[in-house]
């Protein structure tokens, strides 16, 4: 039942944003709304994990533990973003970057965006899945081009075009799936549940082709190299909370879609095919992101490339499979979402303060904004996979899985790339965070709501990092539940 609740709230909020004039009132309302969503999603997750069964309502909405998990991730980040938007948008209005009206539009779009993302895991019909994901693109395109200057418009254009093309391929794949399904001569249907039910009997070749199209198509949206090209542009130009949503969860929804089809493919043509493709693309993503991170100048682009790296790791995790691999990957989905959101909020504050993305100019953030600086420092290490932060755990799980599977070369590459990226991150962030404060910079005190958002995420990063090693059993058990789908 919670599912409708979850889906309804964003719609109402969007309407609210349209009706309510006063920003001050609405922004808090917004945050509260997403808190409600979060609570609901937690309840949902509990229900799904504890009860085996996968619910479905009149064959349109279908969800099991897996979708519940993704809904949970989305709502966590959405809540954080809503919280952070309060201070961020306010600052923008005060500094006259955007008008009241623009802010209103922002909130409407924000809610629609969240709605479309929350819709993705909930639908059963693969066609609708496609539509939902396309919707996310169309809505977020406005948010990418929000500031309406040359860069942001260019970014938005690239984003919308490349993603649409990718999505078209995904649609092609979907059609081929339905074709393979229709060859069985049963009822024509695009429902995932039906397809999984008799995936075993489908034509292998067509499934293979179809999956390639799906992989490339949704892979474009997920930012797997070499289809990742839109990602750094969009992430670096979007409004900070939106960047967090984009790299935190938008990519993950695409991954979710790939998984859904992947499950059918696995049932149809066996695991190896799916696995190899995922691992291959994952490694390529790692390699490419590694290179770009090393020589990056733009703070937000740096973070964007990080998302590519982590998506790569995630896809490797899923590609390896098994309890360790899948568990690690799912954990990584969550950890990366949280950490990356934190980093983007931090970067947002820094960019606001220093009025530039260029990391050669930014110095001494710790001095000017102690809180943000500290959070960025912690976040950077978390992102680079340092204990006691959560990403370390999931990375280790994935590496373990890869190694135990006997992919020694992949293990080697994984370790190597992660080490190099670690070096690059520490290098960049130690330079922008420490050092002497540039002239004309004063220490600013930061609004409470912003701090709240940071703390909300940071607590999760640490807590998971510290708690996880001690609850592996329960974790494994949970993963099994999740992957019953």
């Amino acid at each position: 039942m919670q599912i409708f609740f979850i889906l309804a709230i964003p719609i109402f909020l969007a309407a609210g944003a349209f009706l309510i004039g006063k920003q001050k009132i609405f922004c808090t309302l917004n945050a509260i709304g997403y808190l409600a969503v979060l609570v609901a999603s937690v309840m949902l997750l509990r229900k799904m994990v504890l009860s085996e069964s996968a619910n479905s309502y009149f064959s349109f909405i279908y969800f099991d533990a897996l979708s519940a998990f993704f809904i949970f991730v989305i709502s966590v980040i959405a809540f954080a973003a809503a919280l952070y938007s309060i201070s961020y948008i306010k600052k923008d209005i005060d500094s006259g970057v955007i008008s009241e009206r623009k802010a209103k539009i922002y909130y409407i779009l924000f809610n629609l965006f969240c709605f479309s993302m929350l819709l993705v895991p909930a639908v059963n019909n693969l066609g609708m899945l496609w539509v939902a994901i396309e919707m996310t693109t169309l809505i977020s395109a406005f948010l990418v081009g929000f500031y309406n200057n040359k860069e942001s418009i260019e970014a938005a254009w690239k984003y919308i075009i490349i993603c649409s093309v990718g999505i078209i391929f995904a649609l092609l794949g979907t059609i081929l799936f339905s074709y393979a399904f229709s060859l069985l001569g049963d009822v024509k249907s695009l429902n995932w549940s039906d397809m999984v039910a008799n995936a075993g009997r489908m034509d292998k070749n067509i499934l293979k082709i179809a999956f390639i199209f799906i992989l490339v198509g949704y892979g474009t949206k997920a930012g797997l190299a070499p289809m990742h090209t839109w990602l750094p542009d969009a992430h670096s130009q979007a409004v900070a909370p939106i960047s967090a949503l984009l790299s935190g969860v938008l990519l993950k929804t695409a991954i979710y879609a790939i998984l859904r089809f992947g499950i059918i493919t696995i049932k149809g043509v066996g695991f190896a095919y799916f696995g190899n493709l995922m691992v291959l693309l994952g490694i390529i993503s790692l390699a490419i992101s590694c290179g770009f991170i090393l020589v990056q100048k733009d703070l937000k682009r740096l973070l964007a490339y990080h998302s590519i790296e982590h998506i790569g790791i995630i896809s490797i995790g899923f590609g390896i499979g098994g309890i360790l691999g899948v568990g690690g990957a799912l954990l990584h989905v969550f950890n990366h979402a949280v950490t990356k959101a934190l980093m983007f909020f931090g970067a947002g504050n820094v960019v606001n303060k220093y009025r530039t993305h260029n990391m050669h100019v930014i110095r001494g953030v710790i001095g000017t904004m102690p809180f943000t600086g500290f959070m960025l420092l912690m976040g950077a290490f978390a992102l680079a996979g340092m204990p006691p932060f959560s990403i370390f755990i999931s990375e280790i799980l994935i590496i373990c899985a890869v190694f135990l599977k006997g992919y020694y070369l992949v293990t080697f590459l994984l370790l190597g790339f992660i080490a190099i990226i670690f070096g690059a991150v520490v290098h960049h962030f130690s330079k922008i965070l420490f050092g002497s404060i540039p002239k004309g910079m004063s220490v600013v005190k930061e609004p409470l709501s912003g701090k709240m958002a940071f703390l909300f995420l940071f607590v999760q990063i640490c807590a998971l990092g510290i708690v996880l090693p001690f609850i592996k059993k329960d974790l494994i058990w949970m993963v099994q539940k999740l992957f019953q789908g």
Partner: protein
């Protein structure tokens, strides 16, 4: 992967206990010292932060040496590195400390990557992260795999320990931290790497091929020499000490490597004995290096410079610190009857006694290693004559040194405690060695109850029957009596008191600090003798008033950092060049991007059958 619960998390065998004891023996005085050191150094908040980090650092190190689960070990290990990184960059204003921190954390993380690889291999065989399980599984490992694991572990821990050529971070990181932290880092933290080697290679993996020991011995010898030679060239006092850490890690590893060699040759007595020597030097180095860093910190606190060329004459300004530093210097250059002497003597004896038992080729090898160790201690002595002489003796070379003051009580207390330990560990050798025997037996699994290393509580006698004895208390007594006797005779015959007059100046009218010997000139003979390795080069430039008249010459001489220049910089360059090249694939043209997608689809479809 088994469920971790707390009770199966910790283990306290003598080895862990020993290392815990080392950690807290050094950290306690350092903590006391830091009270005075941090005063007036920075704001209250920052001081609190420093304390917090210090505590966290100690806890993490304690965890590292006392957990029994590889996974938790790894986490503790990384936390240790992270905290120490924060301590290195503690002084965030300086570009240098940030750069140092970066080099440090990157190097140590690369090491960790190798550790992870090694642990993964172990895990593959044991299907458990528990030490005991892995230990039992390692015996089933095929020899090739064992060798790989060994090499990975060696690289991983070697990076932390600062074995040449992985020592690159050490001289950058240690000096940049606050002094009490450098003393802990250099005294204790790098020892955790030795713990790792002993725990994982000797205890868990088990040594069964003799080339492991030989490899470690070679690396150790190289580390000794390289460390001490660079130290001789160094004039930043804390950097100098950091290089000496490289050297001493080498000496410790000589003991450990010898132990591994003898284990693989199945000579229990010698194995235990040389491990004892290694462990003894380990704790000794922890003590005197800790002390020396504290003294260096005191000097820095008093004079605001670490460049010994600017110092001098401090023995009159800060007499107590001078005495402590002198004790530390004597200990580190292995002068009797202090602790450094004992452990180096033991190490040498380990070589000599070993030579009786091994066969032909190994004998010569051991002999040469021993000779190199002797050379190292000689050079170390020279280096500390320089360090102490230039810093504390003669006349002050700058105003920094002129208006120096003796440091606060808490700092002196910290230094005093450590210098007291130096003497104790020198004189009570015969007792301590009994305790170390237990540790060694725990590490190697050899029963030492039947072995004797000392005649009684005063006289060491390794390998009974060889008639080799050393008794530091006796030696100390003899030297003291002779010295005092000499002084007494001197007093007897001495009637008129000595004339105090200025140093003989060959008739030159004003002899001042500019005529003194400097550290650079002091180390010049060494620079020339080892020029094949140091590759010294000099820059001279004329400072002209006009075209015709040269006002003065600027002259500076440098030595080439061989490893940095010929190993690290090329690798880094390669990585960056390839990254820059890769950058070209994203020129910003949307059409190109679209074609990527297109091409990917085509390629994947064409090679579909391959997957």
């Amino acid at each position: 992967m088994e469920h971790l619960n707390i009770d199966s998390l910790f283990l306290f065998d003598p080895l862990s206990a020993f290392f815990l004891c080392v950690i807290f023996l050094i950290s306690l005085p350092s903590a006391v010292y830091s009270i005075g050191y941090l005063k007036g150094e920075s704001s209250g908040l920052k001081t609190a932060l420093a304390w917090f980090l210090l505590v966290l650092f100690l806890i993490s190190m304690g965890l590292v040496v006392s957990v029994r689960n590889v996974f938790v070990f790894l986490i503790a290990w990384e936390i240790m590195s992270l905290v120490s990184y924060f301590l290195v960059v503690f002084d965030t204003k300086h570009e240098k400390s940030i750069q140092a921190g970066t080099i440090y954390i990157v190097m140590t993380h690369i090491g960790t990557a190798f550790l992870i690889a090694a642990f993964l291999i172990m895990f593959k065989y044991a299907h458990s992260f528990n030490f005991a399980a892995i230990k039992s599984a390692c015996s089933l490992m095929p020899p090739q795999t064992r060798n790989i694991v060994f090499l990975f572990l060696l690289i991983g821990f070697g990076t932390k320990a600062g074995i040449v050529p992985l020592h690159i971070w050490l001289p950058y990181a240690h000096p940049q931290a606050p002094s009490h932290i450098s003393s802990i880092m250099s005294g204790v933290m790098i020892k955790t790497a030795i713990y790792g080697i002993i725990r994982f290679v000797i205890f868990i993996l088990g040594v069964n091929s003799s080339w492991w020991g030989v490899l470690i011995l070679m690396l150790a010898v190289i580390s000794c020499l390289v460390g001490v030679i660079y130290a001789l060239m160094e004039h930043d006092i804390k950097k100098l000490l950091a290089y000496h850490s490289v050297e001493n890690i080498g000496i410790i590893l000589l003991g450990v490597g010898l132990a591994m060699l003898f284990i693989s040759m199945n000579m229990p007595y010698l194995a235990v004995f040389s491990l004892i020597a290694g462990l003894y030097h380990l704790i000794n180095h922890a003590i005197f290096k800790g002390l020396l860093f504290l003294c260096a910190g005191a000097v820095y606190k008093a004079t605001e410079t670490r460049d010994i060329e600017k110092l001098g004459g401090l023995i009159k300004k800060m007499p107590q610190t001078a005495v402590y530093f002198l004790l530390g210097a004597m200990a580190i250059s292995a002068l009797p009857p202090l602790n450094g002497f004992v452990s180096e003597w033991l190490t040498l004896q380990a070589f000599f006694l070993g030579a009786f038992s091994v066969e032909g080729g190994y004998r010569l090898f051991l002999g040469l290693c021993a000779a190199m160790l002797a050379l190292t201690s000689g050079l170390a002595a020279a280096c500390f004559v320089k360090a102490f002489g230039i810093t504390f003796l003669a006349q002050p070379r700058s105003r920094y040194a002129q208006n120096a003051k003796e440091v606060s009580l808490s700092m002196r207390a910290g230094m005093f405690f450590l210098s007291f330990l130096i003497v104790v560990f020198g004189l009570a050798a015969a007792i301590i060695i009994k305790l170390l025997a237990k540790v060694a037996s725990a590490a190697t699994g050899i029963n030492t109850s039947s072995m004797s290393f000392s005649l009684n509580n005063f006289i060491l006698s390794p390998q009974a029957g060889k008639g080799v004895y050393l008794s530091t208390p006796l030696l100390a007594a003899v030297l003291a009596t002779l010295g005092i006797a000499g002084f007494a005779i001197y007093k007897l015959v001495n009637r008129e008191k000595a004339v105090i007059y200025k140093t003989w100046d060959c008739g030159y009218y004003k002899l001042d600090s500019r005529n003194e010997y400097t550290a650079t000139t002091f180390s010049k003979p060494f620079r020339i003798a080892f020029s094949f390795f140091l590759l010294p080069y000099r820059k001279t430039q004329k400072i002209r008033e006009s075209f015709y008249h040269v006002k003065s010459f600027a002259y500076e001489t440098h030595t080439t950092m061989v490893f940095k220049k010929y190993i690290y910089e090329p690798i880094l360059g390669l990585v960056f060049r390839s990254a820059k090249f890769m950058r070209k694939i994203q020129p910003g043209s949307i059409h190109l991007y679209l074609s990527y997608i297109f091409v990917t689809v085509l390629i994947l479809i064409i090679f579909m059958r391959k997957f």
